[in-house]
């Protein structure tokens, strides 16, 4: 049973560029959440996708957008990259309607903006 997989594992981009990160949820899960973890900090909630729609959003600018596909996989897009966007981006999957369950996390994508 595959867990949550994210790609790529590492990425270096130049300020002002755009980036797309990808996530495949754990088998059987239908909800994907994205988190940003800056160095030395806890994960910060970006947004959550369910049934191909953004269901909740954290305090992040519109430069951060996402998408969920019919197979439940998801993409995180960040436009006009800033140096401050450098962080570990984590994808978490869970089951809708099962708020009692924990979320399962991928290994993350380390984004460095130079």
């Amino acid at each position: 049973d595959a867990g949550v997989t994210q790609s790529p594992t590492h990425l270096i981009k130049t300020r002002g560029q755009q980036v797309t990160l990808r996530c495949s949820p754990k088998s059987g899960h239908d909800t994907v959440s994205w988190y940003q973890q800056a160095l030395g900090q806890g994960p910060q909630f970006i947004f959550q996708y369910y049934e191909e729609e953004e269901r909740q959003r954290g305090n992040f600018p519109d430069r951060f957008s996402g998408h969920q596909f019919p197979n439940y996989s998801s993409e995180l897009n960040v436009n006009a990259l800033l140096l401050g966007d450098s962080a570990l981006y984590l994808c978490a999957s869970s089951l809708a309607g099962r708020g009692r369950t924990e979320a399962f996390f991928g290994q993350g994508t380390r984004l460095t903006v130079v």
Partner: protein, 115 residues
């Protein structure tokens, strides 16, 4: 609004001694509470959760946590620490009123176990 506080940035314990990592939370409804562990350059691994029932919950690797509603706390404990327990630990909370509620994390506590 939901929030989680981990008052200690770092906890240092000798191997074999008991350890406690503190966590307090704030949520409007009844809480679902979680502990996760993170090793260097890795994602978060689930340790344990409190949903309802017994206030003492047991999880992976010998860890346990005690839910205290009156003190709004969910401290992580282990009777005898191992050097391999050294890692970054995150407490997290979710509001039980909505199945769609997001998980909110604390800032993390670095646990260091000395041989």
């Amino acid at each position: 609004a939901q929030s989680v506080a981990q008052p200690e940035d770092q906890v240092n314990v000798a191997e074999g001694n008991p350890l406690t990592v503190k966590c307090t939370y704030s949520v409007s409804g009844n809480p679902y509470l979680f502990w996760y562990v993170q090793y260097p350059n890795r994602g978060l691994q689930f340790l344990l959760k409190y949903i309802t029932g017994d206030n003492l919950v047991k999880g992976s690797y010998g860890f346990e946590a005690e839910f205290n509603k009156s003190q709004t706390s969910f401290h992580l404990k282990k009777p005898s620490a191992l050097v391999s327990d050294s890692a970054l630990y995150f407490c997290a909370v979710r509001d039980s009123r909505s199945s769609a509620s997001k998980i909110i994390f604390g800032s993390g506590t670095r646990l260091s176990i000395r041989p």
